[in-house]
Symmetry: C2
DNA sequence: TAGGATGCTGGAAGCGCTTCCAAGCATGGG
DNA sequence: CCCATGCTTGGAAGCGCTTCCAGCATCCTA
């Protein structure tokens, strides 16, 4: 055991095993060229001293850390969490250390990305949902740190995305097909200025499709607020209090759709009878509540992103570097009355 | 801008500003004893070169990093995420860098905790939900790294917890009060062996209270599986297929309760008519679905934990070092028929 | 048997920062 | 006019590791 207050260094291990520090380093890194007997002595010393190598020193000396950095926006949205699960699933499996950097505002973003790009503090970096400038990206490519984007993109950088405009169109088509002609939209505001654009892109696609159907898109009742179910409930109220409320609402996320549904229930209203409702994401909560949604492969986006990074780390050049994953419309009971109810599935 | 492939060091900045590295360091760390003119020259050089100090080097040199490490179990449960939000809320506000270490198994746990405790790679550490051994803790106290536990505890270490046994008792009392006499329990298995014990503690309290009511607790239909809604649905099926199914089920978490409810709906059954259902945690999903639950202050646990750490970092000794937060039973429509439905609230 | 290969090993240099000490330079009091 | 005092400043040492080179056995080959 380590003596209280004393930090054990590679030097102590070397002394105890009667070898040089170089040899200890070789053992630590599983490099060959160390006899079995010596290796055993070193391992015994490490064990006896309770030694842990300093990641700082090794990273500094090597010029790069061996951890993977994942930069995520302040984890406030369930969709980010699911993506993260996918990323960790892959990275954990191959035994890579993963460090998460949570970004709550632009300042934090620039600091973290600056350091991660400028210095080699990570073997590779995955950025989730945060919009990067070309400058940010150039830093990474200049020093050769592999970079992968999930749910965001910059030309020329490997990324995983969905087509949010297409998703908006799908939602509109579904509602139009059901005969709806008046619409509301509940989206979120990028208050932290991190460049979140999916909400507005979804609205764009939605509006475009509505226009194609010959309906004036400026008549869509658009409301935006912070991304939360509670806020969405309030926004829903404001829409339903209109003189001529729409017959259908498209919420930019399932979280927001669930807030709308909760508001309806509290007023004794039902979907789709009083209001048709469609969300986005395909979160588990939408299945539990029976909310129709445009589902995107969140978990898979994380998995693919991590796999892309592994390829880059292995020196390969991923072929379809910029991947667009497919969306699926899941019709459920908030738009189609009498839709069959399925239990949530066992696998995520 | 930095020249491609070239890393800019403090030395380059010093040269450009025609000062010594010591002076640059002083400027970087906002230390006084630098004339305004010199400071301005240094800042200009930093800007011109696009310089970012290396956290590795500064951490190594200083003997400690200035970031706060938060160790969380592989983010699989929404409750952990909410706690994390609370932690980040506080830490972000005071401008502390936060780095998350995700732990998926014992090996990872020991590696991360070993390094964080042994070396000074973090100014302070918050561990969420993972059980620590006395040995782990001693490492931290030996080197003097502040440590705070959230949702787990070790005697003598500042921590934030709830009384899970008491929560189990509250659930039992509620169901007993409604006249139920036969029970099922759906909990989770600590498959990763990270020492999660809340599920079993909740069962203990539940059983104890049942026994006090004169009912043989061994007759509780206990089922356990991995922590997910889907798995809980399967376990619920196995309980309801019993020859004499219970009239009420206590699920160890809201996530699991939501799975049970989803199963009921898919079978055309209702709560509490066919089965009374109570969950645990007070997640938003329980409000959305109207599930009765034993609510714990998740967000607040994170906030308090972070505040505790800030106190320790400031050198203060927190007075009630080991905090037990209160639980609240929220009766909703899965146990009390006709319970009023409230919209989800605006604030989290 | 000698000369070169080969396999292990020790340890110095260097990664980029902080910190501390000594030194330079004004300034003010005596 | 001289020296003590207080600011600023430069830069060497050291944090703990990796890496590379040189040194030493040992082994193989001709």
């Amino acid at each position: 055991m380590a003596v209280a207050g004393q930090r054990v260094s590679i030097f102590d291990v070397a002394k105890r095993a009667s070898v040089g520090v170089g040899t200890v380093s070789r053992v630590l890194n599983g490099r060959e060229g160390v006899s079995a007997a010596t290796r055993k002595r070193v391992l015994a010393a490490i064990d006896a001293l309770g030694y842990h190598p300093s990641r700082l020193a090794s990273g500094l000396s090597r010029g790069r850390s061996d951890a993977v950095a994942v930069v995520v926006p302040f984890i406030t949205s369930p969709s980010v969490v699911v993506r993260l699960e996918g990323i960790l699933e892959v990275l954990d499996n191959v035994g890579l250390n993963t460090v998460l950097y949570s970004v709550g505002n632009r300042q934090q973003r620039d600091r973290h990305l600056g350091v991660l790009g400028d210095r080699h503090e990570a073997a590779g970096v995955i950025v989730v949902s945060i919009r990067l400038s070309r400058q940010h990206v150039e830093r990474f490519s200049a020093v050769g740190t592999p970079l992968v984007l999930v749910d965001t993109r910059v030309a020329g950088v490997p990324s995983i995305e969905v087509d949010n405009r297409e998703g908006g169109r799908m939602a509109a088509s579904h509602l139009l097909g059901l005969g709806h002609r008046s619409f509301g939209f509940i989206g979120d505001i990028d208050r932290k200025h991190l460049g979140f654009s999916s909400s507005s892109e979804r609205l764009e696609g939605f509006s475009a499709r509505i226009a194609e159907a010959g309906i004036d898109p400026s008549r869509i009742a658009v409301r935006s607020g912070i991304h939360s179910a509670g806020e969405a409930a309030v926004l829903a109220a404001s829409i339903l209090e209109l003189v001529e409320p729409p017959t259908a609402i498209f919420a930019a996320s399932d979280t927001q759709a669930s807030g709308v549904l909760s508001y309806l229930k509290s007023k004794g209203l039902t979907a789709p009878g009083d209001l048709a409702l469609i969300g986005f994401d395909g979160l588990e909560v939408s299945a539990l509540l029976g909310i129709t949604t445009v589902a995107q492969p969140l978990f898979e986006s994380g998995v693919r992103g991590a796999q892309l990074l592994l390829q880059l780390l292995a020196g390969e050049v991923p072929d379809p570097g910029e991947l667009v994953l497919p969306l699926r419309l899941l019709p459920r009971s908030t738009t189609v009355s009498g839709a069959s109810i399925e239990p949530v599935s066992r696998s995520p």
